[in-house]
Amino acid sequence: MKTAANILGDALFATGYEVQDAPRYGAERRGAPMFAYVRAADRTIVERGAIVTPDLVVVADAGLLGIPAAGVMQGASEATWLFVNSTEPAQAIRAQWRYPGQVVSWPAGFTPPAMHNAAATSASCAGAAARMLGVIARETFESALIAQSTGRSAGAIETTRSQGLAAFDAMGGVDRCVPEGGEHPATPPASPDWIELGADDAALAAPDIYAQATSEQARTGLWRSHRPVIDYEHCNRCSWVCSTLCPDSAIRVDEDRTPRIHYDHCKGCMVCVLVCPAHAIRQVSEQAAQAQEIEP
């Protein structure tokens, strides 16, 4: 999404706007939600950091809508447009998440790139956003796509270019739907509910974890892009190789020596796939595996 913000930023800057774009993320690990902000204005932009009241929110991973900690809908109001990188009808998304504003998803018949293709996903999300803003010319957007792929292979540049433009063209039905945001509201903001922070007992105030097995609650399985699947016909019940070498202790072995992968905590590192002496563990795309679970 950092790249999507850069593409959009370049295109808006080339169109003549003052621009600011910035990513924001915490610990650098797979699966952690990351954000990027783009501001455009016809005057110098002085504020920075998080955008508190966005005009448009672009969600590349629809799964984030269901994770409250991701805060995707923070600050959204009736005036905030939401684009979701999904082929589900916009109205269904709007109803499911009780979104207060207008929702847009891909039009029927459009196939977005696979999510694990990050570059193509960034390009197509940027294309959708550019078209919804409606102030960026197609050629300007194309140049931005190419500029942001500098240094990559000719094939990769072409994929980015064609995916971005395909998205831009597909979104003709919502051309310029997002109006330019007005100035800030006239009323002064409400007072913050500041408190006086008191001193706590040191045992509580130290950043320590006393409770057992809190990691159970962190579903690190959500970080996975690929899933290991055991083919039990070929597993020779060696009973220890995969379960011992899994760095996340996500494989347990039953009494009868059958290994079981705990998918809530398997991060998809594929170590087990490499080490299984019987070659009994397959690597499959997580997206494909999930799609199969939903429509078996």
Binding site: G9, F13, E47, P189, A190, L197, D201, P207, D208
Partner: protein
């Protein structure tokens, strides 16, 4: 000159490139890494003739930088947060060598706990080292400050290392339009390093930084660094004027925004100034005359410029994005010291905010300005306030409940 979108990190790298640096000792750390990646790429492709060396730690990196500078080589380096702390022994040693080089620090809050986001406790740990400190609020300022910093560092009346500070994320990773000056015009402003008597020449031996000394000669040399810093105040003003004449951008020792008729003034450093300015505009619409004062130079401390800007104001809200444990905000204490004993000075109210990158919203700027004004009317200095809301504490208590309370009873908290 061309106007490009670039991050603060790219601006720092361009500053070094345009300054014609010859040596770049490096060690990566988030959020500074992009600076050395860019410089390494340019060096590798021959677009820059500098030598870049990857060290095994920040401690050796700063040793390498100071040593190179002491031999008359224009040197650039960069770090952040824990890296600056790891280098700290040499950060304090280098100014005593009178070694002129530029170090860009990308502010990131310190452990523990760990975070990647910015506050200024890292760079303020280097406050008393003898490094000159320039604090930036925009990506343009990062680039321009690196250029000015070399003139300042290498000035014969100064000859000290300069630390140029930018905030992680809010500048380091944020792209915005930056004017990239032409190399020829930069060279006219910043000619190659003339090391004067520093540096090594054939048949002119010199032993730098000699011996263990007793208190009396020690006092002399230490105080000379202090005096060189005081000289740097005047030299800085001259350089800022020269830079403005050459490039049309004036970066004073302090920046003032809508201060002339202000009743309440925010004092803060770094990129938070943007939000403060926006809040000042809105507060004025709401009927309170608010201004912003932002020291760019923190060492040497521009006390008289601050006194001049604040004389006659009713109240100052000092927003410290740092915390000196057991005392409070560093900017607040320093400003109180600078205004002490002077007439017509405003009442100072201390706020601690933005630690570890916590956002400070418009609502909080409004409330700070109002609290400062009310305090001035009551003529009562309130207790320092941490910007922290009931909602934040509720969220924290939820996390603590998951983590377990270490035997602390519910009712005691």
């Amino acid at each position: 000159m061309s106007r490009l979108l670039m991050t603060g990190n790219a601006a720092a790298a361009w500053g070094a490139r345009l300054a014609g640096v010859e040596y770049v000792p490096a060690f990566p750390i988030t959020p500074q890494t992009e600076i050395i990646e860019m410089l390494a790429g340019w060096c590798e492709r021959g677009e820059m003739s500098a030598r870049l060396t990857m060290y095994e730690s920040e401690h050796s990196m700063v040793t390498g930088a100071a040593s190179a500078a002491a031999t008359g080589v224009r040197t650039f380096t960069a770090t952040s947060s824990q890296g600056l702390l790891y280098a700290m022994e040499m950060v304090f040693a280098a100014p005593g060598w009178r070694a002129p080089f530029v170090l860009v620090n990308v502010s990131r809050a310190l452990a523990s706990p760990i975070t990647l986001e910015p506050d200024h406790t890292d760079v303020l740990a280097a406050r008393d080292s003898g490094f000159i400190q320039i604090h930036c609020a925009t990506c343009q300022e990062v680039l321009d400050s690196v250029l000015i910093a070399y003139r300042l560092a290498e000035h014969p009346r100064v000859r000290l290392p300069v630390l140029v500070n930018q905030d992680g994320f809010h500048l380091s990773f944020t792209r915005e339009p930056v004017d990239l000056p032409e190399e020829a015009r930069v060279r006219a402003f910043l000619p190659p390093f003339d090391a004067h008597q520093a540096g090594f020449r054939a048949s002119r031996p010199v032993s730098q930084v000699v011996a263990v000394l007793g208190g009396s000669p020690y006092s002399y040399f230490r105080y000379q660094v202090h005096l060189a810093q005081r000289e740097a105040l005047d030299v800085y003003d001259e350089l800022a004027a020269e830079f403005a004449a050459a490039f049309g951008r004036h970066h004073g020792a302090i920046e003032t925004y809508r201060c002339d008729d202000a009743e309440v003034v925010f004092v803060l450093i770094g990129s938070l100034a943007g939000q403060a300015k926006q809040a000042a505009d809105r507060l004025r619409e709401a009927g309170l005359k608010v201004g912003v004062v932002r020291p760019r130079l923190l060492r040497p401390y521009p006390a008289s410029a601050l006194r001049a800007a604040l004389r006659g104001k009713q109240a100052v809200a000092v927003v410290d994005q740092n915390l000196s444990m057991g005392s409070g905000g560093v900017l607040y204490a320093e400003l109180a010291g600078a205004l002490q004993g002077c007439e017509y000075m405003p009442l100072l109210v201390s706020f601690i905010g933005g630690l570890g990158g916590r956002d400070i919203g418009d609502a909080e700027f409004f409330a700070m300005a109002n609290e400062a004004r009310d305090a001035a009317r009551r003529r009562e200095v309130p207790e320092p306030r941490l910007l922290y809301t009931a909602r934040e504490l509720r969220e924290l208590r939820k996390l603590q409940a998951i983590a377990g309370t270490g035997g602390v009873q519910e009712e005691t908290r």
